[in-house]
């Protein structure tokens, strides 16, 4: 035999004729990529992941990449990633300006989520794309419309012979009733063109229909809703399909939802690959998926197609398709190792699947279908605890704020890992015990809710049969039986102790994913003893590779997950032996309110910087949405839970030179002590300093020594003690547990009763930790300062001033860099305090200090010796890679070596505005307080404050009215300050409308004000006026408890009808300035690169 083709790489030698190999498109040179904007429920980091991939790969292909995205905490908006980076509001006017300015040849709308598509369709409808000759890459207008417009989509599906649920379209209630009569209840209500099913739901009767149709009509930009036959209880599947320009099509991943139809897929626990379809059923679904993508006409790129299957008959219907990369495609990419967004970007510029190499194997191409030899489970992470007045139930509108993904060999293993990854407060057993009441348990099973997984465990433990749980929950028996196996295994384990337990049972427990802690509790042993025993019986973790091909080809990319078996593939020892200098970077886990993309940004920067500095970077994280879990980001990726047990095992495997804990938020910080105790070297600020900053007594002593003021405060470990401390400090008082992020369980209390109540709640969140109490400073302004330190020197990176007064969580407050009306001597004092504290604490890396300015005095509110939420924002504004520097400092370099010895100048004014999820939680009062509630943020950048604020405001999804009626209602304290704002609004042409007290005061100052009734004063009230859209902007500061209901009604109504509502006077001042700016001239657009090139002196008004 002359040669063996099977063993060598000869595809090209025998490839298709030359003329068929068309290289990438040369007729386009520049491409505009539209990002997805701030993190909101339904649109999170996954679009930074996909957008980053698109930017990088298109740039590498030599295209001029122009990016627009309003979210500064993203990797994709790093100025190095694109040729031109616009951090500008994602509104059609702005896109149009950018198109006119940059004249790109093409626009890639399919990597920026629903936002990217909606914006592209808007500018298309304005005729801009046609006029400027801008081509749509990936999917054309028709395909985008078909994917988004449910009526068109359904018609198209029927045309190609696919079944869809019966449905009808309504533009009003009457039509809705007709459709309901035709189809029958229950019905699903879906507004068109909304994100994550916002404004939709399931209705069971006419009253519910009336209510929800109204909401849905309001939520839909087109004021049209779809009423659809409910296939509640059917099994739900998703296929991720990729197609190229010559019509090659593949399925990258199949996903089966653990939760049956009726729960938004973003809120469903999902499993990949699908588990319960036979080959015939699966292939038929795959064939349908190809028919869908071809009919919809997605020319190139990825699409997500959802199906429902009747478990009783196998009957299948198409539910929907997204003609773009999505949350599901990010998950599919991480689940399989097939980078959908990257491949889609290459296909968009003309490559075909057989021309795109498979990075993981390095030997094969993207034209194949990944096969999995492991099981993936995704579990969403919710934030209902932040919105206590909303129903914690799940439906067709997505409510989760983040997710974890777990890879295990079997479903059980992956499920248990997923639960560990969630970092839920309190233990799971306690959660199950709370469901001991049978009626409650049944409710938890039959109404989808975020605790249903625990309810299933509880039911199985209480002796429910699989059939009973299935009848109540519609969860497929296959999943339930696997969970029952876990329950039975745990029951058996509980019969043994560490001395008597047979080895085979230990191995089975490990294979089933039980953690050391769980084993310790079942066997009534010490965790350390369990760990030692596991080593003795050879039940240690091994690491296997995610390789797209079930080991058919060697994988060169170390994308690893732990399991149990006889062979380890990490090659960690070989790397050590080869002299690699390893550093482990701990990520931040699932997105939560208070801990999100900012920290992922930091981890990614550290990986890039340290890799450049010659280290082998090792990332540990479990959040599938992120850039940090892209196998491209670090040298080695461990897709593992961020608990001490899993992280220690990674460290034992890798033996790194250092571990970085200060970049991933509280998640890795909480592990610092445990890691240190186990002898793992922690890089940067020592864990003791982290502890000191969190320990009230030690920290208070340090501040006293340094002569630094802080609000009166105390610490309590019991409710009685807490009340006592509060009494001593004086009211109002802020209470919070230590070691939490995002102000979880933080509250402002005005009396002893509320203190006692909140202490009880806080104790549940963080049981063993002491509770901190601080005197709340009325009428104070807060400032955030971030700095870098190398142990010898500390350099301030930036100071941001909060626009809202103290009392509102820093993450929820709009803020401005540089400060606008703070005197230079106060700023100097703050810088001085921060530098001194950094050196005293021995900070190496980043530190954040929050200051309050109260009656001309500087107070330190808190010190965080870690990367803060504001770091990406400041880095982007000043154009200096702060986190890369921090990583190098942790690796031993000095600030002098990095050339960073002075505070960078700020080349403009940069306003941060938060984005809130209130619309997702009907009935929630959208008022701000010390507990953080925002999910994301945007940046407005301009040479002037007014324009920067206006941009931030627009970017955050509000609009600024340029004329009309302003409604004013403020508390007595604020009345004097309101006068100049009211006067400015009047001068700008607004009519003023106010409640009695406010109106009287303003009239006394010579302003013309119309009067409106409060709700309890009779009708028509201000709420009626709001509903009638007779008010264009609301300025309403809380009036205190007596008129609480009025305030709430006003805010809730304004939110419902999307009327801008400002709840602080400083916010109102800024809004008035923004309006003035917009009236004065049109918004300008300016890329970051221009800000940074100019490096103009800061435009701060530093006189105070």
């Amino acid at each position: 035999m002359s040669r063996i083709p099977g063993d060598c790489y000869t595809a090209r030698a025998l490839g298709p004729p030359r003329e068929l190999i068309v290289p990438r498109r040369d007729d386009i040179q520049s491409i505009l990529i539209v990002g997805s904007g701030p993190i909101v429920i339904g649109q999170a980091c996954e679009f930074d992941y996909s957008g980053t991939q698109a930017c990088r790969v298109l740039r590498r292909e030599g295209y001029r990449v122009i990016l627009v995205n309003s979210n500064p905490a993203t990797i994709m908006t790093d100025p190095e990633l694109s040729d031109v980076t616009y951090v500008e509001p994602l509104v059609a006017d702005v896109i149009e300006k950018i198109l006119e300015r940059e004249r790109p040849d093409a626009i890639l709308p399919t990597v920026g989520g629903q936002t990217g598509i909606n914006l592209t369709l808007q500018v298309h409808e304005r005729g801009v794309l046609e006029e400027l000759g801008v081509e749509l890459l990936g999917a054309g207008v028709e395909a985008l419309r078909l994917g988004e417009d449910r009526a068109l989509f359904k018609r198209a599906m029927e045309e190609i012979g696919l079944r869809v649920p019966q449905s009808g379209y309504a533009g009003g209630l009457e039509e809705a009733h007709e459709i309901a009569t035709r189809i029958g209840y229950p019905l699903i209500i879906r507004p068109s063109f909304t994100l994550g099913g916002e404004g939709g739901g399931t209705v069971y009767n006419r009253d519910e229909l009336d209510e929800l149709v109204e909401i849905a009509l309001d939520a839909s930009p087109a004021r049209r809703v779809l009423l659809e036959q409910s296939v509640l209880g059917w099994k739900e599947f998703e296929l991720e399909v990729v197609r190229d320009r010559v019509d090659n099509a593949i399925v990258v991943c199949s996903v089966e939802n653990f939760d049956a139809m009726g729960v938004h897929t973003g809120d469903s626990i999902t499993v990949a690959p699908q588990q319960t379809l036979s080959d015939r059923e699966y292939q038929a679904m795959r064939n349908d998926a190809f028919k869908v993508i071809r009919r919809v006409g997605v020319a190139t790129g990825g699409s997500n197609i959802q199906f429902a299957v009747d478990p009783a008959t196998g009957e299948r219907v198409v539910i929907e398709m997204n003609p773009r990369v999505s949350r599901s495609s990010a998950l599919a990419s991480k689940a399989t190792g097939f980078p959908i967004a990257k491949v889609a970007a290459l296909l968009a510029v003309g490559y075909t699947l057989d021309e795109v190499p498979n990075d993981i194997t390095g030997k094969t191409y993207a034209a194949f279908e990944p096969t999995l030899d492991y099981t993936v489970v995704k579990i969403p992470r919710w934030a209902f605890e932040k919105f206590p007045r909303t129903q914690p139930t799940l439906g067709t509108a997505m409510k989760s704020v983040g997710e974890v993904m777990a890879i295990g060999t079997t479903f059980r293993q992956a499920l248990m890992k997923g639960l560990a990854s969630l970092e839920l407060d309190g233990d799971l057993a306690a959660r199950e015990r709370r469901m001991s009441d049978p009626a409650l348990l049944r409710r938890r099973l039959d109404t989808p809710n975020w605790e249903r997984l625990f309810a299933v465990f509880a039911a199985l433990r209480q002796g429910w049969t699989v059939a009973e749980v299935n009848r109540a929950s519609h969860i497929d028996p296959w999943f339930l039986r696997e969970m029952r196996e876990l329950v039975e295994l745990e029951n058996e384990l509980a019969c043994w102790n560490l001395e008597s337990i047979p080895d085979r049972l230990v191995h089975e427990a490990r294979r089933s994913g039980l953690s050391e802690a769980r084993l310790a509790s079942l066997l009534d042993a010490e965790p350390a003893a369990v760990h030692a025993h596991l080593g003795r019986v050879g039940a240690e973790r091994v690491y296997k590779r995610v390789d797209t091909c079930a080991a058919e080809f060697p994988a060169r990319t170390p994308y690893l997950y732990s399991t149990f078996g006889v062979e380890d593939e990490s090659e960690a020892e070989a790397a050590t032996a080869g002299g690699a200098r390893k550093v482990v970077i701990l990520g931040s886990g699932p997105n939560r309110i208070g801990q999100g993309i900012e920290f992922d940004y930091c981890c990614v920067h550290a990986a890039f910087a340290l890799s450049e500095a010659g280290f082998e970077t090792i990332m540990v994280n479990c959040n599938p949405e992120t850039v940090s879990t892209d196998y491209d980001t670090s040298d080695r990726l461990y897709f593992e839970p961020l608990t001490l047990e899993y992280v220690l095992d990674v460290c034992r495997q890798e033996r790194p030179e250092g571990v970085i804990v200060q970049l991933g938020g509280q998640t890795p910080l909480k592990l610092a002590r445990g890691l240190e105790a186990a002898g793992v070297p922690i890089w940067g600020t020592p864990p003791d300093a982290i502890d000191l900053a969190e320990d009230r007594r030690r920290f208070g002593a340090l501040l006293a020594e340094e002569g630094v003021r802080q609000p009166d405060n105390g610490t309590a470990t019991s409710i009685e003690e807490g009340v006592e401390v509060a009494r001593g400090i004086g009211f109002p008082v802020l209470v919070r547990p230590s070691y939490v992020l995002g102000g979880r369980a933080m509250a402002l209390c005005y009396d002893e009763q509320t203190v006692a109540r909140y202490l009880r709640e806080a104790a549940e969140t963080s049981p063993q930790r002491p509770i901190l109490l601080d005197r709340f400073l009325d009428d104070a302004f807060e400032l955030d300062l971030d700095l870098l330190a190398d142990g010898e020197r500390a350099v301030v990176a930036g100071v941001m001033q909060h626009i809202e007064e103290a009392g509102i969580h820093s993450g929820d407050s709009a803020a401005v860099l540089p400060p606008q009306n703070v005197s230079e001597h106060h700023l100097e004092e703050m810088r001085d305090i921060a530098r001194r504290l950094a050196l005293r604490l021995g900070v190496v890396g980043l530190m954040n200090v929050q200051f309050a300015l109260h009656q001309d005095q500087v107070y330190v509110i808190e010190v965080n010796p870690r990367a803060s939420r504001t770091v990406p924002f400041i880095a982007k504004a000043v154009g200096i890679p702060l986190v890369s520097h921090a990583a190098r400092l942790m690796a031993g370099q000095t600030l002098a070596e990095l050339g960073l010895t002075e505070e960078p100048t700020v080349p403009g004014v940069f306003v941060k505005a938060p984005v809130f999820p209130f619309r997702r939680f009907p009935g929630v009062d959208p008022v701000l307080g010390p507990e953080m509630k925002s999910t994301g943020e945007v940046m407005g950048a301009s040479p002037s404050f007014g324009e920067a604020f206006a941009k931030a405001w627009l970017g955050a999804g509000h609009h600024l009215p340029l004329s009309g009626t302003a409604f004013l209602s403020v508390n007595d304290r604020d009345k004097a300050t309101l006068v100049p704002i009211a006067r400015q609004l009047r001068e700008l042409g607004f009519e003023l409308l106010a409640t009695r007290g406010t109106a009287d005061y303003l009239r006394g100052s010579g302003l013309e004000v119309a009067l409106v009734k409060k709700v309890h004063e009779g009708r028509p009230s201000v709420v009626d006026r709001l509903i009638n859209r007779e008010i264009d902007v609301v300025i309403n500061t809380p009036l205190g408890r007596e008129s609480h209901e009025d305030d709430e009604a006003i805010r809730v109504t304004a939110l419902k009808y999307d009327i801008p509502c400002v709840t602080t006077l400083s916010g109102a001042t800024a809004a008035a300035e923004g309006i003035a700016e917009l009236l004065d001239r049109e918004l300008s657009v300016r890329p970051l690169q221009e800000f940074h090139a100019r490096r103009v002196a800061p435009l701060t008004n530093a006189t105070g």
Binding site: S278, D279, A367, T410
Partner: protein, 363 residues
């Protein structure tokens, strides 16, 4: 109380021993291959091409949707042994008639689970297809290993006679489909879905035993001949190859699938060789050399045609995108062609099914 599974073992000829748990009892020897399909275990079990082989599934959960007699590719399972990370004892599917383990038990196919199947796959990938034994009855490794090494190697093994039908039989188009051309299908271990795919397209099919002389076949006056898939090494099947040569010479349209493709290649004067560990799965990309297009195919073969050995009269028309092996060739100026992959799928993607239409159109 929970069941405690007895131990099981997988021993490979290179001396590797994998401890496992028994899922279905027995002891059987064979060539160990891995299959990367994520669905279709029943079709794999009943595919006669697996005769002589122990199949290791790379997907961890096998048996989830049970067994349904309507999807069997033949009347019984042919694999020597079945290995997975975890078998599902109780299936969940409206179509399930029986659970997988009961089925394996009933047919005497030993199965083991709980072992590091990925480690097995990596061993096979590195060392090539290996002989091995699956046992739930024996625990002494040394004698097992000795017997494994005694077991015949797949190269040179003719297995067609073990799986072919004893007498010819007819398959007619289903109700509602207009009957068209008459085809002969040589049964070298034919999968039911090949017959189904042809009949659905209106073909009247006569299935012939593997050793049917060409003259007898041609005597039926058929419009075309299909050479089916099947197990083992094609080279020792010299008599069959000679008959295939006669069929081609007669001018009748011929379509080869898998083993049939290899036999056609050999009949045309080409040679075959054993691949290191073969292609067994549902995600093999095949590129059409004329159009550049790629289809994802279902494959199950350990041998392949050496492209350099094919005479000028034959043209390679499709290759495997991963490793460049020959996936299809055609005889120039004749309605004779063949594919290494499985256009009938079962299990696997249906992307290549138009190949049946192409053959029927060529008649």
């Amino acid at each position: 109380m929970r069941r405690e599974a007895p131990p099981g073992l997988l021993v490979l000829e290179d001396g590797s021993v994998f401890e496992a748990q028994a899922a279905a009892p027995g002891t059987r020897f064979g060539e160990v291959v891995f299959n990367t399909s994520m669905t279709g275990y029943q079709e794999i079990l009943t595919d006669p091409s697996y005769c002589g082989q122990i199949v290791v599934m790379t997907l961890p959960h096998i048996g989830n949707y049970g067994i349904n007699s309507a999807v069997a590719e033949s009347t019984r399972p042919w694999v020597e042994g079945f290995v997975a990370r975890q078998f599902t004892a109780l299936p969940s599917s409206h179509g399930s008639e029986e659970d997988l383990l009961t089925y394996l038990n009933r047919h005497g196919v030993p199965a083991i689970e709980g072992l590091d199947t990925r480690a097995v796959v990596r061993r096979v990938r590195e060392r090539g297809a290996l002989r091995g034994v699956v046992t739930t009855e024996r625990s002494e490794v040394a004698p097992l290993l000795a017997e494994v090494r005694e077991h015949p190697s797949m190269t040179g093994r003719a297995l067609v006679d073990e799986v072919t039908c004893q007498a010819p039989y007819e398959v007619t188009p289903p109700a509602g489909v207009e009957a068209g051309d008459h085809l002969a299908v040589y049964d070298f271990g034919v999968k039911a879905n090949i017959l189904r795919s042809l009949a659905e397209r209106g073909a009247r099919v006569t299935v012939l035993p593997a050793r049917t002389p060409a003259s007898e076949c041609l005597g039926l006056g058929v419009d075309g001949v299909v050479l089916s898939n099947g197990p083992g090494d094609p080279e020792p099947l010299t008599e069959i190859i000679a008959e295939v040569r006669k069929l081609v010479a007669s001018g009748v349209p011929v379509f080869g699938i898998c083993l049939g493709h290899q036999l056609l290649g050999l009949a045309m004067g080409g040679r075959t060789f054993k691949l290191k560990f073969g292609h067994h799965g549902g995600n093999q990309p095949v590129q059409d050399l004329a159009t550049g297009r790629v289809v994802i195919t279902s494959q199950n073969h350990g041998f392949a045609i050496d492209p350099d050995s094919l005479p000028e009269s034959c043209q390679v028309t499709e290759t495997n995108l991963n490793d460049g092996t020959v996936e299809a060739f055609a005889v120039r100026d004749r309605p004779v062609f063949s594919a290494q992959y499985h256009p009938e799928a079962a299990p696997g993607p249906h992307d290549a099914s138009p190949l049946f239409d192409r053959f029927l159109d060529a008649l």
